[in-house]
Symmetry: C2
Subunit: 327 residues, 2 copies
């Protein structure tokens, strides 16, 4: 049994907890929280909740620590620090800062001799793996990533900060005509804005000026001004009943050519339709925690991404069974 | 430069030739054929065509041999034999016999210390990789593979053997309603027959009894009898102008659940739409030839499948560049 620790206890961690408890080769041994452990109620009654101050007492009781902090401020600090003592996995997703995060984590993991797998979720993560395979197989081509339909937390928060707004949820939705153009083998140049529309559901305070709120949303720089944005005002009840989920998903499409004159077109498409963004991300993290342990046992060390890890390490199944049932 | 040999010179090999010549880190050094080399005309004027009898003279001049034989009788013999002297890659695709092929190839490759990568095309190959990742990430789920729309060579040949038939092409087409049911999150039990229809284009001899031919097709056991099969009679000219390509493709869909009561549904879908089945398969083979060489240089040996190989080894790009541009 691979002994798993969970570091942080938010939505993502709760998904990891479910995935680890469902795996027959893993055992959840502790959940670490910065809060008062007595105040949190986990879904695993037999597993202790421990304050992060005491994490060093667990170095020989945990095989892999799954770090469930946020990418903005938690992970850049937590992952390099915890990699000094544990094999770790994170879902760091600030794309532009991944090279820097990789270096920081690699430095401590190379010294400690531990394996640290970073940026494994769905984007970065499964989307990255698909971008990579597809571009290696079809080097003469172009790839496209579309996100959605799904909830963008940052954009929802931006709306919530507008005076008069009680609650808000923003969905990012791929532009169907752009998707179709790419699938048809055209290789248009598309900006993120041309690929996505933004749909907002807003609960306004009683008596608030909804026209003014709508105008503030659609003209908000960076977030909405350059997008095709629609705003719907709804009741608190509707928000609760219709928009309480955290769905997400998207598409990675590679359009490439082969032939002596590029006369043959090939389209590779990978898509996700997820009811729960955090639970799916957690499932990816958990599979890579298994890989981290196996690679550590093989004598590997240092920082790795999904690109460095052979698919077989993610599965509970033996190589022989994988070949028999999935190849 | 990775020095590549091509063994066999049919459609697949011609695709490999194009892919290797397009790769900036590979050099095609020889093409081996069982035919008289003088009689074959390759697309690479500077590359010698050599009779397979002389392959042993090339053991120190070729880094990876890409074997382009057929799965029925060529590869079971060629791959274990050539793995005694070369790093090799093949696209062996008889799913049921892969475990046996793996064992045979592994035995000779372990002795020679060479790397042998088998069954890398799109199914098995890229489809297998996607089945594997998806099932590791969503262990509580079910996967589905649909083939098409594409040309089935075996079924086309079966029609051609009917008296009165001059030429024939059979397309395997996924049943749209079955695809939609799976995508919607239903997890129906579907046989291959319930997932696919068969569409046949037939050129009949002048004066042939087309009703009789059609009846022979649709009632043919194993091939057509249990499928929804349609038959179109066309002219030789139509066959040439409309059906000369070798397109193929398909879908791998994983439908899985997470949540404390499986309340969240997730759909992972991977699809291929290929203008040229052999050229795409060749592109996959070529990327895995790169991987075979790199793994050999790292000191690895023995038989491997796509499950054993980290994605990064397939790409011309460095790890740093992959992280920066694709993660």
């Amino acid at each position: 049994m691979i002994r798993i620790g969970i570091y942080g206890y938010g939505n993502l961690a709760k998904g990891v907890e479910l995935a680890v408890n469902a795996a027959s080769d893993m055992e959840l041994v502790a959940i670490f929280t910065r809060r008062n452990p007595e105040a949190i109620k986990t879904n695993s009654v037999m597993v202790p909740a421990i304050n992060t101050d005491y994490v060093m007492e667990w170095t020989d009781k945990i095989d892999v620590m799954i770090i469930c902090g946020g990418s903005a401020t938690d992970l850049p600090r937590q992952t390099p620090e915890l990699a000094k003592y544990f094999n770790v996995v994170d879902s760091f997703d600030t794309h532009a800062k991944i090279p820097e995060h990789f270096e920081n984590v690699n430095q401590t993991a190379m010294v400690s001799g531990k394996v640290a797998v970073i940026s494994v979720g769905w984007d970065p993560g499964m989307f990255s793996v698909n971008r990579m395979y597809s571009s290696a197989v079809l080097p003469n081509g172009k790839d496209y990533t579309f996100w959605g339909k799904g909830v963008s937390q940052g954009h929802s928060d931006a709306i919530r900060r507008i005076p008069g707004v009680l609650d808000a949820k923003q969905y990012t939705i791929p532009v169907e005509s752009a998707l179709e153009a790419v699938r048809s083998g055209k290789t248009p140049e598309l900006t993120t804005r041309e690929k996505h529309i933004r749909e907002c559901f807003v609960v306004a305070e009683e008596g608030a000026d909804s026209a003014k709120i709508e105008n503030e949303i659609v003209t908000m720089p960076n977030y909405f001004a350059d997008y095709d944005t629609t705003v719907h005002f709804i009741t608190e009840e509707e928000m609760k009943s219709e928009h309480s989920g955290i769905p997400h998903g998207g598409f990675v499409i590679r359009s490439g050519k082969t032939g002596s004159n590029g006369e043959h077109q090939h389209i590779i498409e990978y898509s996700l339709k997820l009811d729960s963004n955090p639970e799916f991300t957690a499932s990816v993290l958990t599979a890579y925690a298994r890989a981290a342990w196996r690679l550590y046992e093989k004598g590997e060390k240092g920082c790795m991404t999904a690109f460095d890890i052979a698919p077989k390490y993610l599965s509970e199944k033996s190589s022989a069974e994988l070949i028999r049932t999935m190849l």
